[in-house]
């Protein structure tokens, strides 16, 4: 066994956050509000949000559940970049300047950091996100490890919307399917068990489909699951040109 790395006393310090607040019951306008909280380096931005909500301002509103990056509830814009609040450690940000937190862009803001996710879910549903296979096997369908590997990356998606709401094309055109829907289409298009790749390819060949992608790579950078989103989109584009997966 290699040396045991001791976790030393974790330093704590005061962090400044500026959070974009919006409550239509109070005002039509959104505004920035500043907070100061005492945090440890290993704390996450979600811990800071909780600290504010629990100790200073109960009205601060955001979604969260799992707190370790697997449920997709808390995608927000931190210092101008889309991230999960629960996966962003304070120490990885510049703590000498104010940390800004605002809702992800391109979806209607409901209250503070909460956005209306329905347009995002609709795009997901529009690509038929389910296996279509008409055979009736008695046991499991067989799939080789190689075939299984072809779509592994895109099975990791947690529908957090970080990718879609970092996409400049989506910001200007809310009709665009967006990277997340394409990622989920990819997951089925390249699954050897699925029989409806052609339908999905057809859907994504639409004018609001894959061809709107400008390959800016924002989505890949934003994805908290490390999915190679741009690559997945490129593979779908090639499949459309080939006429098959």
């Amino acid at each position: 066994m290699s040396d045991v790395k001791e976790i030393a006393e974790i330093p704590s310090f005061t962090v400044k956050l500026s959070i974009r607040r919006f409550d239509p019951e109070k005002s039509e306008e959104a505004s920035w509000q500043e907070y100061e909280v005492e945090m440890h380096a290993t704390d996450r931005v979600l811990d800071a949000l909780h600290k504010i909500k629990w100790e200073q301002d109960g009205s601060l509103t955001f979604r969260r559940s799992c707190a370790h990056g697997v449920c997709g509830s808390d995608a927000v814009r931190i210092n101008g970049r889309n991230r999960l609040a629960c996966k962003t450690l304070i120490k990885d940000l510049d703590i000498n300047s104010t940390i800004t937190v605002e809702p992800i862009k391109g979806l209607p803001v409901e209250k503070d950091l909460i956005v209306d996710m329905n347009p995002f879910y609709q795009a997901y549903k529009d690509i038929n996100p389910f296996l279509v296979a008409n055979d009736k096997p008695e046991k499991e369908r067989l799939q080789s490890p190689e075939d299984r590997a072809r779509y592994d990356d895109t099975t990791k998606c947690i529908l957090c919307a970080a990718c879609t709401t970092s996409c400049p094309v989506f910001w200007t055109d809310g009709q665009y399917f967006g990277p997340a829907a394409i990622v989920n289409a990819h997951r089925f298009i390249f699954d050897s068990r699925d029989e409806e790749a052609d339908v999905r390819l057809d859907i994504l060949n639409d004018k609001e489909g894959v061809w709107r992608c400008r390959t800016t790579f924002n989505c890949t950078e934003a994805c908290p699951r490390g999915i190679e989103v741009t690559k997945a989109i490129a593979e779908v584009k090639q499949a459309i040109l080939r006429g098959r997966p």
């Binding site: 045991v4 001791e6 109960g58 509103t61 990056g69 997709g72 499991e140 799939q143």
Partner: protein, 589 residues
């Protein structure tokens, strides 16, 4: 005036985790079905499950459902209802096939079948050696189950009420019997009330790990569903049995799946000793969770813990090939990197037990029907998944048996709920069905004291970690009960800051704390009354299992409003364990 909406369905399912959606898939095509869920379905905590789902497919080595049944019974320290365990094991194969057929991307063997791996407590031929029984998709099996079930629900056009918090259930009398008539839900987006009537109602609301401080559970796992059942005067079963998973990230509680040990990971103390060799000589690090968690806590208590405060042990993966780690344990090793800054390829990971899973819950029979006493069914009421107690997990759940449970009994709940709804009439709705929820919310909204929800919740979690965790005594449990009484009194004096209608999570956190207090009290009370050690329940003042007195399930009843006196308002009764094939033996590994 709060706006009240009315809906009518045949089958109403509360909760959209694995159990709720599996039920919906069964019910949806045959009956008008609604799923009400406080989280968007794919955010349910089933998605956090990592290691796998048990089924004796025998794809990689010889296995049988009978061995699986035995392991489940033995793992549960013989408190398992054996008829239910047989169903769990027998129906496991079909449950996995169902998921594969729906599209679940399991890892595959070279010949294309579903691959299987080892997991704690699962053995060949009644304990002879570990067996490869866990079907898995990397270390994100729960994520894949949740996604696949949701995808199937989308395919079937299941109707969801997302971000609706069910806070009450309306019971009514039909033919001299009390039956559920509706659930009352609060719509997070608008603050409006929805009364959803159904012929059958299925609870699938998951666990309540948030009564503890160190837990693998999500912030939202506050046991609301179980709490509602409790407040309706229906009993809860085996609440003293709560599982502490050995390998939570030290200080954080985030889970590192047992798969890490299934793939060869080894637990070591500060001096590098593989200490499980002393506690379970045969299966060592793959002993059942209760044993491993206690062994770890014991190493720390006896001064052999690692770290500056000697308060954790180490999970060593450094001897595994990085390629194996990447292929089979990618997510959990990333947790170690992200949250502790530890590189599992080269450094051992600091771990300590974390509150993980409720073995107890709403008593049901093998048709997922809810019981109002030891054997009387509440017609039309069902429960499945972690909120239910069938009981297939007894005193200690085996890893990979919960993802199985939610699929097998979720499916059964859906099936029997439909069967019942086919002949039942919609129960009449009493007047003012919304009154209870409106009163509950108004009380919190109008309360003007100076107590804070977050402070009370933290004190509750601290006392539960200190007094009702891996080691328990009469004294520590009384201390917890005392503290809970104090917190209840202070809960009457809370105030919240958000008085808006829309997305008022401040209000809901206060309501959730009410459920946490209820469940923590029942857990501590039941733990005090079980004066023996069995499975996950370990009493330092009663070290031995006592089959003469306690080879029975506890059944907890609420006898009126809590008075502030310790345990007043709770009564414990006992229920026989169903034994078919396996007589209780000493549990050795």
């Amino acid at each position: 005036m709060t706006k009240v909406h009315h809906h009518e369905f045949d089958v109403v399912i509360v909760g959209a985790g694995g159990a709720g959606m599996r039920a919906a898939i069964e019910a949806g095509p045959h009956a008008r079905t609604a799923v009400i869920t406080k989280l968007f379905p794919t955010r349910s905590h089933t998605g956090a499950a990592q290691g796998g789902m048990a089924a004796a497919l025998a794809n990689v080595e010889e296995d049988s459902w009978e061995w699986h049944t035995f392991d489940t019974v033995k793992g549960g320290d013989y408190l398992v209802d054996q008829d239910a365990a047989e169903i769990l094991a027998k129906e496991s194969v079909q449950a996995v096939i169902d998921l594969e057929n729906m599209g679940l991307p399991f890892n595959r063997t070279p010949d294309g079948k579903i691959d299987q791996r080892r997991f704690g407590g699962h053995t060949r031929d009644h304990g002879k050696a570990p067996v490869r029984r866990s079907c898995y998709a990397a270390d994100r099996t729960g994520h894949m189950i949740l996604q696949t079930l949701y995808q199937t629900c989308v395919k079937l056009g299941i109707e969801f009420f997302n971000e609706f918090y069910v806070l009450d259930m309306i019971m009514t009398e039909v033919d001299g019997q009390e039956v559920p008539a509706a659930v009352v839900a609060y719509d997070l987006a608008t603050g409006e009330i929805h009364i959803v009537r159904g012929k059958s109602i299925v609870y699938a609301t998951g666990g309540f790990g948030k009564i503890f401080k160190t837990t693998s559970n999500a912030h939202t796992l506050t046991g609301d569903g179980i709490g509602i059942i409790w407040r309706k005067g229906l009993p809860l079963e085996d609440m003293e049995f709560y599982q502490f998973h050995p390998t939570g990230l030290a200080g954080l509680g985030i889970l590192l799946s047992e798969a890490a040990r299934g793939e060869g990971g080894i637990l070591r103390n500060a001096s590098g000793e593989r200490f499980m060799e002393r506690y379970a000589p045969t299966i060592k690090d793959l002993a059942p969770r209760d044993m491993v968690a206690r062994a770890m806590a014991n190493e720390v208590r006896e001064g052999r813990g690692a770290g500056p405060n000697k308060d954790y042990v180490l999970l060593d993966l450094t001897h595994l090939e990085p390629a194996v780690i990447d292929a089979k344990l990618p997510d959990i090793t990333e947790f170690a990197r992200t949250y502790l800054g530890v590189e599992p390829y080269t450094e051992p990971v600091p771990v300590f037990p974390t509150a993980h899973y409720a073995m107890g819950g709403i008593p049901t029979n093998i048709k997922a029907e809810v019981l109002r006493d030891n054997d009387t069914v509440v017609p039309g009421l069902y429960a499945a998944g972690e909120c239910a107690c069938v009981s297939v997990h007894g005193a200690n759940r085996l890893g990979t048996n919960s993802l199985l449970d939610i699929n097998v009994f979720g499916k059964r709940a859906g099936m029997y709920a439909v069967e019942y709804a086919k002949t039942a009439k919609l129960p009449p709705l009493p007047d003012n069905a919304e009154a209870g929820v409106i009163a509950l919310l108004d009380k919190v909204r109008n309360s003007k004291g100076d107590e804070k929800v977050a402070v009370l919740r933290k004190e509750l979690q601290d006392t539960m970690d200190a007094n009702a965790q891996v080691y328990r005594t009469e004294e520590s449990l009384n201390e917890a009960l005392n503290k809970i009484s104090e917190l209840r009194a202070r809960y009457e004096k809370i105030s919240i800051q958000d008085h808006g209608q829309r997305f008022n999570t401040d209000l809901l956190e206060a309501v959730e704390l009410g459920f946490l207090l209820d469940l923590a009290e029942v857990l501590a009370y039941a733990s005090r009354e079980r004066r023996e050690s069995r499975g996950g329940h370990f009493r330092e003042d009663y070290l031995e299992r006592n089959d003469d007195k306690f080879m029975v399930h506890s059944m907890l009843y609420r006898e009126g409003e809590p008075t502030g006196e310790i345990g007043a308002g709770i009564r414990v009764d006992w229920k026989p364990v169903v034994i078919t094939n396996y007589q209780p033996m000493e549990r050795k590994y």
